[in-house]
Symmetry: C2
Subunit: 187 residues, 2 copies
């Protein structure tokens, strides 16, 4: 049994493996006991996933903002800023996540969902989250210039819970580096 | 000549006829002298077109809001609210008009454009208009509950000019009647 647990520990070195249905079916009890320990579905885990999306945006020359929509601790939408690619100012990561999640769930209301986004949403995105009646918003870095908080939390739905500052330094740095690089190139 | 002018006046009873290229080619001078008089491309003309879009939305069971994007006095996008059809809270008339106009012009910035919309935009739509750096916004009826003006004109781009109150009563009535009918049906 101990050997088996060790084996499972190796297999589950990468957390994503725990989401594999075959492993869940083979070792349900072990997985159940491991899961709370390693906090597979923590806020930090989801924010890291959002940050991966921001990195994809950066690599594509887009303003690096990434978002993950989560429903019952399951990721139902991943997105990153695509305003350049789609030539569309409305193609922010949050907007794409809202549309994608609504499409997946078959309802445009997202009261059961949590949105993890690397940067504080702008008023446009906060407005979309209000219409969607989002359950919970978690963002990484603040955006003092374009963020919605300068107009107050009232831009969100009154039932939307909120947290911020998760992976703050990484989420902030990727934006700063992007614009620094852009300024250097445009000189 | 007088008879010809009379004839043209009959033909141009419906303003849309003046946009017909064949008529323009046949009677360029007459058309040129008539056009300023009847104000073919007035704000009211475009707001009527936006109102037609709102009526299409009402007929489709959508919240009746319509929008027209105009560039150099030419309509480049028509849209109406499609949140029910597309099952997407972001599918407001203004958002669809912004995306559509950007697609038509090949640029996501709309400094040369005017948006005519029947209802005061919400913060989501105002935010989109800010990102697009819209040249001018004209809206019909105010929206005291969901409109962006409760947060101030700062939600728009500082260069965006603004006017409101055009076809106010029609634009307001179509919304009131829609929700009245909805409440009656849900009883």
């Amino acid at each position: 049994m101990i050997r088996l647990v060790k084996q499972v520990n190796i297999w589950t070195k990468h957390l994503d493996l725990l989401k594999n249905d075959r492993i869940r079916l083979l070792f349900p009890r072990i997985i159940c006991s491991i899961m709370p320990m390693i906090e597979l579905y923590s806020d930090e885990y989801f924010m890291k996933k959002a940050f991966e999306q921001a990195q994809i945006a950066a690599d594509a020359g887009e303003v690096p903002v990434g978002a993950i929509m989560v429903c019952n601790k399951q990721i139902i939408a991943k997105s990153h800023n695509q305003t350049e690619l789609l030539n569309d100012v409305t193609a922010h990561a949050e907007m794409l996540a809202v549309t994608s999640a609504a499409n997946y769930l078959g309802t445009k209301y997202l009261q059961q969902c949590e949105l993890f986004v690397t940067l504080e949403p702008c008023p446009m995105c906060a407005g979309a989250l209000k219409w969607a009646q989002l359950g919970r918003l978690v963002y990484g870095a603040e955006d003092n210039k374009q963020g919605f908080m300068q107009y107050g939390k009232e831009l969100l739905h009154p039932q939307t819970k909120m947290a911020y500052g998760l992976l703050h330094d990484d989420c902030s740095l990727i934006i700063k580096e992007f614009f620094q690089k852009k300024r250097t190139l445009s000189r």
